[in-house]
Amino acid sequence: MKILMLGWELPPHHTGGMGVVCYQMCKELAQSGADIEFILPYTAEFPNIDFMTVNPALPEGVTEVIGSMAGSTYDSQYFTYVDNKGNSRGVQMHEHQSAYTQYVAKLARLNEYDVIHAHDWLTFRAALAAKQLTAKPLFVHVHATEFDRSGGSYGNPLVREIEHMGLLLADKIFAISQATKDTIVREYNIDPAKIEIVHNAMELEESELHEDTSVNTFTYLQIMQGRGYKVILSAGRLTIQKGLIHLLEAFAKVVEKRPKTILLVVGSGEQYTELIEHSAVLGLSGNVIFTGRINGTGKTWRDAFRVANLFVMPSVSEPFGLTPFEALLQHTPALISKQSGASELLRNVLKLDYWDIEEMSNQILAVCNNSDLEITLAEEGSAELANITWKRSVQKMMHHYQLHAHKQKVLHV
């Protein structure tokens, strides 16, 4: 099974969960015998990846594309082109998206693939071009829709249109959760029979984390824990749909009852200054720590999950949400909103409606004040995690690849 896989990022050069998901998914696909050529929009070294070919989409005459990982959202990214003379120039995301499309089209003409698999709207134009040229089955994988990213409004009409085209012309759609499938059906009028749910898993091993630190970053927090403090962790982009204002409001009630509680906020984003200000207004300056951005596959990130007594993901909207899985992987219990895709899957976590601030403080206090609860949630949650594997999801994907690749062959004979 030869797969032309179109993605936008892979760790360690990544900004969000999608890269981590693509990495693990491809690793398991390769284990199941898939031969994957993964096309990225930028040039980078991937010493961890020997199970597939990773190629950057290089425009004519360009020898290197440098991606900026600093932007907090994908459409604010920019790229730098370097040519063989060492000259460089910056381009906007949309210009580079066109170049990516041309590169993929060229590749599709030159090589033979069994299926095309594209991740999210950024790669859909390229995927459609490849399908048009080769008539190979197209699988589009939806990690998040524009509807999700715009917090439940229409969002950018151009992006909506590209998404819609991709969803309409795909032979099969993989959605990462039931909630995402529902969104695709409701917001994009797609036939539910065409959509398969392929849940994510979290199976990163210790050896796959890169060394971004040689020390334990959170010694301070451990000392405070020794003095009776409990540490609550939030990790992810600081944007409105992550629901962090609600968390701060709830945390204020927690600190009122239990002053020895610390909230560790890991991540960056457009709400960064707003959240700092808001925590100051609530009188929480002494209890909230902002770390700024930390790479999601590095050891510092892992240490944050490891030191915490409770991980909280209070998202207003979250198509999946990989972070609670990372928490359970480190034996840290998780509290998540019912509005996340992860809550469809995980049972041994605390769940609530993101707007229920009183319940959020109630559950946080319960974990802080009862170590039996913390331990039981961690034990049962980790045990549950062991049964949520990429193997299961990849088997489903392989099945559909084969089905469509076969159908395509029959049609063309």
């Binding site: 009630k253 049972r347 041994n348 605390l350 004040n369 039996d372 609860l373 039981t376």
Partner: protein
């Protein structure tokens, strides 16, 4: 000694006081742990009325008619203090129907703890007080004094039998669990090890659970269960004196719904059984004195009638359960020395075993029987509500000048 073979039908009636959604922010401000708002999943009045309608009223109507039709029909009931109180308050017509059954003289009431607690394993004084409370409640409402004993969830060990023997009971009930029975059949009377007068009746779990658990299960290879089929199985042990059918009363109409045909089965069974002249029914105390003990029953470990393990792990299996119950009993001396009756009563209501059952994580991932009986969505919700109530009890103790 009786020359007739007897079915000993024993039904257990119980409802706990479920804890409402009680948050950390309620602690120290309100103490109404058991008063869920109307329409809430944990609203006790709603649940008692619902079960009265589905189970208690129709079942008692059937039982009453069976008692009137068949002079040989008899049964035994254990009814906890917590459910009796709730009948008095929310469904007095149910209490009256139980009183009519007992007034026939052919329905025996079995003793137990008033609060359906696991106090026997944590505090012997508290356990004995709850047994006395239950006895007095039964005397007050039914005018009888129990002579047989069952402990919460049919939990049983040598110690309990020894205690019940010393307390003057003539019969005690337990699960006829294979590791304890060995090669022996549950259809005989046994003498518990190290006791003098008391006799043990052992539940025939195979035939009991065919009715209680499997009756309406369409995937069961024996489905549907008819009285003919059931009596065929029962008659396979024709030369053994007893058939101990022990189960939750709520089997009838609540666990097995009316549309499964369970009431028809209940009504048919005595008729079909008594059609044979060498068959009869007995209450538990009557069975214990009608047949000699054939052997001693040695049970150093604690067994119950729950789950495939038949031990206490459904209530005390995980750290939340263990921590919650030992925290609660840790308050015993302080609670008792307040002499504050409402505080003592709230503390006792929290001892009801159901609270710990709701916190069980065993099988939570399969969403099984435990989930069916829980008003909470997860074992963690159950634990959080319970522990917040516990923290409020401590707050009240502190207010009362106790050194918490």
């Amino acid at each position: 000694m009786s020359d007739k073979r007897a079915i000993v039908l024993y039904l257990h009636v119980h409802q706990p006081y479920r804890v409402r959604h009680y948050t950390a922010l309620d602690v120290g401000h309100r103490h109404d742990y058991f008063d869920a708002p109307e329409g809430g999943r944990e609203n006790n009045a709603d649940i008692v009325r619902k079960v009265a309608y589905k189970s208690y009223l129709p079942t008692n109507e059937h039982l009453q008619r069976m008692l009137e039709t068949h002079p040989d029909f008899k049964l035994s009931l254990s009814i906890t203090g917590t459910v009796l109180e709730q009948f008095e308050r929310y469904a007095p017509e149910v209490l009256a129907s139980f009183q009519r059954l007992v007034a026939t003289g052919r329905v025996e009431i079995v003793a137990e703890t008033y609060h359906h607690s696991l106090a026997f394993f944590y505090n012997r004084d508290e356990f004995e007080q709850q047994v006395v409370m239950h006895r007095e409640k039964v005397q007050q409402l039914f005018g009888v004094t129990p002579t047989a004993f069952r402990n919460t969830e049919l939990s049983y060990n040598n110690d309990l039998a020894y205690w019940a023997d010393k307390a003057g009971y003539t019969a005690i009930l337990c699960e006829g669990w294979d590791p304890v029975m060995g090669w022996r059949s549950p259809n005989f009377v046994y003498q518990p090890a190290f006791t003098s007068n008391i006799r043990a009746l052992t539940k025939n779990y195979k035939l009991s659970d065919d009715i209680a658990f499997r009756f309406s299960n369409r995937f069961w290879e024996e489905y549907p269960l008819t009285t003919d089929k059931f009596l065929d199985w029962a008659n396979a042990s024709w030369d053994q004196p007893l058939l101990n059918l022990f189960m939750d009363y709520e089997t009838f109409g609540e666990h097995q719904w009316a549309d499964s045909g369970i009431f028809g089965f209940l009504e048919h069974l005595p008729k079909a059984w008594l059609a044979n002249n060498s068959h009869t029914f007995m209450t538990v105390s009557q069975a214990a004195e009608s047949f000699p003990a054939v052997d001693t029953l040695d049970c150093p470990q604690t067994i119950t009638w729950a789950d495939t393990e038949r031990d206490l792990t459904a209530w005390l299996g995980n750290r939340m359960q263990q921590g919650a119950i030992s925290s609660l009993y840790g308050l015993t001396d302080m609670v008792m020395s307040t002499n504050n009756l409402s505080l003592i009563e709230d503390w006792r209501r929290l001892q009801t075993s159901d609270h710990f059952y709701y916190m069980c994580t065993k099988y939570f991932n399969d969403g099984d029987v435990h989930a069916y009986f829980s008003p909470y969505q997860t074992p963690y919700d159950a634990y959080i509500n319970f522990m917040n109530s516990y923290h409020d009890l401590k707050y009240r103790l502190a207010e009362a000048g106790q050194p918490v």
